[in-house]
Symmetry: C2
Subunit: 110 residues, 2 copies
């Protein structure tokens, strides 16, 4: 039942895991507007370059971005724009949670 699909589910999980980090989500969002080089992303996020480079490597391994070396810098771009559609759904999760939180608070205050 599960064992049969395990391999496939692991592959799916890898893609999701690659997205499941605030810096990497930022990068995805940023790349949605166009390609960016490592130095630009590093500047925007404000972490060590090596950290950003590793995040980009995770995204690349997962098949979410592709890189293009030009001169001495490397530009990354989104390979699968459809992942952006997903964020709307994630937002609705967050919103309904927020709403529930408000409801709970209201309940407590009565």
């Amino acid at each position: 039942m599960y064992q049969k699909r395990k391999r496939h589910l692991e592959a799916r999980a890898k893609v999701l895991k690659a997205m499941a980090h605030p810096s990497r989500l930022f990068i995805i969002d940023e790349l949605a507007h166009g390609e960016r080089c490592v130095c630009e992303l590093t500047e925007m996020i404000g972490a060590d370059v090596s950290t950003i480079s590793k995040h980009l490597s995770v995204l690349k391994q997962a098949g979410l971005v592709i890189d293009d070396k030009r001169g001495n810098q490397v530009f990354y771009q989104l390979r699968v724009p459809c992942i952006l559609n997903f964020f709307g759904c994630v937002e609705s999760v967050l919103e309904s949670q927020a709403q529930e939180h408000v409801d709970l608070l209201a309940l407590v205050e009565k």
Copy 2:
């Protein structure tokens, strides 16, 4: 730039992280077909009940499922069906990766 959105991106990341595990993806897929109790999911996945219970707790914390206790068992159901739409996109990532892999192999064989 990033700091301003960090909180929000962390919230998004939490939802994605909750999905990013093969067993939890299986559960989501299964719940797409209707509610299931912990014992059913445990049976299907073949891990310890406590492990499944913790997976369900992760999904619940993330706002992805809701639980409903009836008698001495607890039924879980999907709270946000839109996440299912996302899998099509994840599949396309996997497929294009597979295709690239084939291309690379072909290249090596020449």
